[in-house]
Symmetry: C2
Subunit: 543 residues, 2 copies
Amino acid sequence: MTVSKRAAKATEESLHRIFTIPEAPDSTLGRIEQEMSQNLAGFLGAHIAAKEMALSEIERDFACSEIPEQPTFVSEHMHHLLNKLVAQSVHTSSPSFIGHMTSALPYFILPLSKLMVGLNQNLVKIETSKAFTPLERQVLGMMHRLVYRDNEAFYQQWMHSANHSLGAFCSGGTVANLTALWVARNNLLKANGDFKGVAREGLYQALKHYQYDGLAILVSSRGHYSLKKSADVLGIGQDSVIAIPTDANNKVDCQLLRAKCQELTEKNIRVLSIVGVAGTTETGNIDPLVEMAEIAQQYQCHFHVDAAWGGATLLSEKHRSLLKGIELADSVTIDAHKQMYVPMGAGLVVFKNPSSVAAIEHHAEYILRKGSKDLGSHTLEGSRPGMAMLVYASLHVISRPGYELLINQSIEKANYFADLIDQHPDFELVTKPELCLLTYRYNPAVVQSLLVSSDKKQQDQINVLLDKLTKFVQKRQRENGKSFVSRTRIEVQKYHGRKTLVFRVVLANPLTSKDILTDILAEQIELAQESRNVLPKLISLAS
Amino acid sequence: MTVSKRAAKATEESLHRIFTIPEAPDSTLGRIEQEMSQNLAGFLGAHIAAKEMALSEIERDFACSEIPEQPTFVSEHMHHLLNKLVAQSVHTSSPSFIGHMTSALPYFILPLSKLMVGLNQNLVKIETSKAFTPLERQVLGMMHRLVYRDNEAFYQQWMHSANHSLGAFCSGGTVANLTALWVARNNLLKANGDFKGVAREGLYQALKHYQYDGLAILVSSRGHYSLKKSADVLGIGQDSVIAIPTDANNKVDCQLLRAKCQELTEKNIRVLSIVGVAGTTETGNIDPLVEMAEIAQQYQCHFHVDAAWGGATLLSEKHRSLLKGIELADSVTIDAHKQMYVPMGAGLVVFKNPSSVAAIEHHAEYILRKGSKDLGSHTLEGSRPGMAMLVYASLHVISRPGYELLINQSIEKANYFADLIDQHPDFELVTKPELCLLTYRYNPAVVQSLLVSSDKKQQDQINVLLDKLTKFVQKRQRENGKSFVSRTRIEVQKYHGRKTLVFRVVLANPLTSKDILTDILAEQIELAQESRNVLPKLISLAS
């Protein structure tokens, strides 16, 4: 054998090995797995570096653009990943990281995910997913029933019907919202006479046929950015997403919404959809869905509810009334990877009418044959993993009352934290929790008094400084790595609608304790003192 | 304590447990994990039922639409999943299942997936993914370089640049193709004078502004159905996807393509994009990309290459020339979950020009702030898991030469199987492999002779019977569960372009042996004899 042939032979053997020989339990990867299985929190705590490294520094470890010409041993590569990647990842499940919408996962999810990967099903068609297809349909049925509460006969009739679908699984809320608006658009601009429908002829012909001067999607100014993205993708245009101002509680102002519908209609702009938000990303508030549904009814438009965050609240008998009116929506987005404690990649949308999805039906020769039950004929995505299994297992292991408890606890915790902030002289609660989200800022008592007695101009000056302080504290706290709150900029009514920087907190991690919350405030006070110019300037203004 | 309070307390404790107490190694889930870790093929072989159950029967196990009111113990639920779900799933990694594009996975992928889930990063923004963001950018850089082979300086300049992106990760090829066409549409119909661009004003205003009577996307008749879906979603309309006939080798006919471009241009229909296919889903053939690029250049339109399947061939020095011209494409789709042996959920698109993605840029207050390096500002999806880590690890552990070997072996195996079929008197090879895909059918020698001597009408009659036979054999083989080939319907030139049913085979599983291939043919011959009416009728026609 020549040298090169021998090398090729060696590569071939090592390749065969990685497909056939399992990782030994005492290999690096085997040990990592064991560590994770035995103590996930411990593993993450031990391997994720607390102190934040600058991104530019991390980038140096990911600078090579060439695909390696030499294979690396798995164990060697695992050391590399632990040192360079895991160490510099984000501890999303830490109970003191209360700024994310991702939180801790139940233990059983980890081995179950491994099973999902090992099975490597493709949900696009039955041929590559068999029982996963009815399972996904069942999960969609359960989530549909959670929202719409139709009777048993309804679900027996539609859940497994080939030409119907109670919803669509997708990678996340953005694709779910996009799917809902796609369905709405195609149903509004459907085939009619000579016109073959927007799905076939496109928007230009559709608007010409229906003689509209444009379309509009109406949502509160707290609506998620994915709606604008969807409007762009769908060819409707971002400017067609019209932001309706909210009231003091971050809920859409229905009077303004109605007036805007009327105004657009008079201008021959067709309202395609009104979108209610059930748990805004920034403040967690829920729109007045019943009234919105009435307006949608009046203007004969699609009513979509973006409950990506808040939808799981329906699992709580105690709090589900907060989402009253959601059952009137034509479509509802819910992210299982948020408050349902499933890993990233599990969004879904449910449709009130099982026939809605006919508007986006697709077929192909080799798959999705007409009359088949292939899920791919009604989804935006094609090939997709079997994430539905993780939702299914969670619904069974945690059960509805278990989820209720988790949801109720989160809301209680948010109220507790809100009280803590409210009662503290040097903090200002900016938005009260309706679900488990709230916003606040560090604002020394003397400055708060000054703000009350100031005119708008002076208030603005003070708020500019407070914004700086909030940003400083949030960044510094993140960099220190002990705890994390996020920050956002929201219009605050008492400051004449000024866009104000605030800490944003999401209290969904069941392991976040009251002590942790107390510590976070204490750390923020400390950090605020470290701001070299800002805090002294504020204090001097106030004295 | 009252009974209900006690019950609530118990639920609370059990909930706390699932978040804090690991699954014991001797629990059901622990044992499943061990079984999988030690012998994945054995685990799948033991738990997936060979004999297929009717879908209607499986559906009975997934019929309940109510979310459980009682929690189930994890171990109990795992038994349920093994019996009802895993048993009735599809053995996609079996070496004798050669009809899928998903195949076996290397062992290290399983624990690595568990690590990915445990870390639960969200790639939409740095705040929830930190080092995963530069890692994903690096993988996109590597894949970009694989396609475009730009120099080192190019990658150092653009790979980590905040306002640029060499591509986008996404859940699969459909979203990748959609993203590419979205970028193409927005760049073509960009802001101009008073017109603010299609992204903001939508397609109706865009076509009015640019005074086009429509848009068109041109692709061979073998193009993937996701292109029509994309055209629908993007508001261009499915009918705007124009299928150009292929030659005898399933490659687009460039003369017809050019003529169609000219015809459309004269009709004031703007060609938005020409799409080359590099590995058609049904036959694995590759379009003449160099010539297509020339035509795209001439008509000043976007040139996209859908290399979801074939893109990985670029890793083979021996075969990469098959994709010559791919470096001229403006965008290229590659699915890592196909020939890169990564689990379901890893598609990507790369863009020649790092500025292309500016056309789909999105920002929001709380994330994706301008100037940030958040990946979410250039992706269709929002929240996304850290799948890039699995591609990254595979590129390092397998390395370029390792992938080359896998690719080369697959192609050799396909050629071997093609010879086997060709030399067998009772089989008819319908399409020869260019990559590792081929199509064929069972067709007894006497019937083959008859076909040659028949006129078109008689050929059609025979082919109708042969279609029945192919369907019968394919279904029966699938139901028996020992092996699996898929089936599709393709136009066959020697039968005057008649859409003919064929077996479709994908030989990407490195563990598929020559013996398995021989056995599959033997089984098909046996099964054909079981067709009650069809085979005897064919034979009697021929004698």
